[in-house]
């Protein structure tokens, strides 16, 4: 017999059917890989020297894709996905139905958080697959000496680090979207924080500890990205426990 938490996650996955949230897992990485590919194909000067090794070309291409994805797309993606997932319950006042069922209230919170974490992981997986698939279009430009396949293990390792550094951001945005009923509030906070991240992220003192710029750290020259990964993961777990506790005792008026 499955635990209430497992059942709530199963239900959460079923709710994703026919949703924009599910489509975004493909659209968001596709937009980034597509944009970088178009940029490499269209820009005046070749983005890599004509005598560069193919492995180096793939590494540069993957680096460019990961850079844009992590700096710009990831915080916006987490913001939008968390808001879309929360709106599934806020929109038609689903809470009153769900919370009247004999499941622990925290199971809904944990399931929602897990669904968001899965969607983020899925988008990163899609990104890893799309880099060689869409990137193979670079063959269209003869001056780019591309051949073979990129180092997918290296890409996956980088994204794994990014994922751990994004753990706190994921929990934070989930809490914001679930706490406030309004879609606008959740999206506004996420977007404002992303924009603030452009400034804060440049500070070597504050950048590594601002949740919206923490995921960038494994891609920068941060002296100890493991430290950021550890702090982000621990803070995410702590925050999730506190939020689940708050969710358990919260009153629902809608």
């Amino acid at each position: 017999m499955m635990s209430p938490y497992g059942r709530a996650l199963q239900a959460e996955i079923l709710k994703l059917r026919n949703t924009l949230a599910l489509r975004l897992t493909l659209i968001a990485p596709l937009v980034v890989v597509g944009l970088v590919t178009v940029q490499w194909l269209m820009q005046g000067r070749s983005p890599v020297p004509s005598d560069a090794l193919p492995a180096r070309v793939w590494a540069d291409f993957a680096g460019a894709v990961l850079g844009i994805f992590v700096i710009l797309m990831l915080p916006l993606y987490v913001t939008l996905q968390s808001a879309l997932l929360a709106q599934l319950e806020h929109q038609d006042r689903q809470w009153k139905h769900l919370l009247a069922l004999p499941l622990p209230r925290s199971s809904y919170f944990v399931a929602k958080l897990m669904a968001l974490a899965l969607l983020v992981a899925l988008s990163m997986l899609v990104l890893t697959v799309l880099i060689p698939v869409v990137g193979s279009l670079l063959h269209l430009r003869a001056s780019i000496p591309i051949a073979g396949w990129p180092d997918l293990i290296d890409i996956a390792r980088s994204l794994g680090r990014v994922y751990l550094c994004a753990a706190l951001l994921i929990v934070l945005q989930a809490c914001i979207a679930l706490y406030w009923k309004s879609f606008t509030v959740a999206v506004s906070i996420g977007m404002s924080a992303t924009v603030m991240g452009f400034i804060i992220g440049q500070s070597s003192e504050f950048g590594p500890w601002f949740p919206w710029t923490m995921p960038i750290q494994p891609l920068t020259r941060h002296p100890a990205p493991e430290q950021v990964m550890l702090i982000s993961s621990l803070a995410a777990v702590l925050m999730a426990i506190l939020a689940a506790y708050e969710f358990e005792r919260r009153e629902f008026f809608d």
Binding site: M1, M2, P4, R7, A8, Q10, A11, L14, K15, R17, N18, T19, L88, D92, R93, Q94, W95, K96, H97, L98, L99, A100, L101, P102, L103, P104, E251, F252, F253
Partner: protein, 297 residues
């Protein structure tokens, strides 16, 4: 035996409203009509019964046990509008709740049949009419196979046919499935037709609770008399100690005097009686009687 019981249940809000010292007693197997005007505290009470809100004082018992997550397994609840995922089909909506409750798939077909929605099971819920959504909402509450069903304004927005269908369905839950139903409504005529018991809530306080027959028995029937000389007839009845008020061309008699006695007096005095109506007061008039009494202190 009481299916739902509350003792001195209180929850007030800083901005006003809420309920005070509510002693609910919903007998097992009854169809309990919970009536009151908008803002009386019906939804607050239901949210307290379901644990969506916390009481400031008092207690809730479900089948004699303090309300908890365990007792919630006995309850099915539909609060105001049904909570439906519009992007999913009716079937998938039920599947979401079925997974949460860990019920077999067969339960979905059973409740779809019960509410007559099988034909539209694979249609998107956003394409459902209001009546279909209401039936889907009921099906969602039935998935848990509850022994107690709490419905908050279930006929809201339904057309007359939808209301009639709902009435039949609710009656069958009590008669065939031995459920206890607590139905909050501001449609008094609807409650009068379905409920066996009633609780009248006004400004957060219960003004009456008991069998509906008990409430109606408290009211004296009204007698309307149409005759050829109403002014003379009113004076004649006054003389006999019967209070009669002339309303247009008719007399209204609000007393325990049987209609045939009134008729005999008038006919014996040579008046021509052409209309004699004995009218049982409606729940609506009883309700206004109770709430106006509360208004007057």
């Amino acid at each position: 035996m009481l299916a739902i019981e509350s003792t001195k249940l209180t929850r007030r809000f800083p901005q006003g409203g809420g309920i005070s010292g509510l002693d609910l007693a919903v007998p097992t197997g009854s169809l309990y009509g919970f009536v009151g005007p908008n803002g009386a505290g019906k939804t607050t009470t239901i949210r307290l019964l379901l644990g969506l809100l916390r009481q400031q004082s008092g207690a809730v018992l479900i089948d004699g046990a303090p309300a908890s997550r365990t007792t919630r397994a006995k309850l099915g609840a539909l609060i105001e509008s049904p909570s439906v995922y519009g992007h999913l089909s009716g079937y998938d909506n039920l599947d979401v709740t079925r997974r949460l409750l860990d019920k077999p798939r067969a339960a979905i077909h059973a409740v779809l049949d019960r509410v007559g929605l099988r034909y539209a099971a694979h249609q998107r819920a956003s394409d459902y009419s209001l009546g279909m959504r209401q039936r889907l909402g009921l099906a969602l509450t039935l998935l848990a196979a509850p022994s107690i069903l709490i419905l908050d304004e279930p006929s809201n927005g339904l057309d007359p046919q939808g209301i009639a269908d709902l009435r039949v369905l609710l009656r069958s839950f009590v008669a065939e499935e031995r459920m206890t139903l607590m139905v909050s409504s501001h449609l008094l005529s609807e409650v009068e037709q379905t409920a066996t018991h009633i609780g009248v809530l006004y400004r957060g306080e219960l003004k009456f609770q008991g069998a509906i027959t008990e409430l109606l028995a408290k009211a004296r029937p009204l007698v309307y008399v149409g005759c050829d000389r109403p002014t003379e007839a009113a004076a004649l009845l006054h003389g006999a100690g019967i209070d009669a008020v002339q309303v247009d061309s008719r007399l209204r008699i609000d007393s325990a005097v049987p209609p045939h006695v009134v008729n005999r007096r008038l006919v014996d005095a040579g008046l021509r009686v052409n209309e004699l109506i004995s009218e049982r007061p409606s729940l609506e008039s009883m309700f206004f009687g109770l709430t106006q009494a509360a208004e007057g202190g």
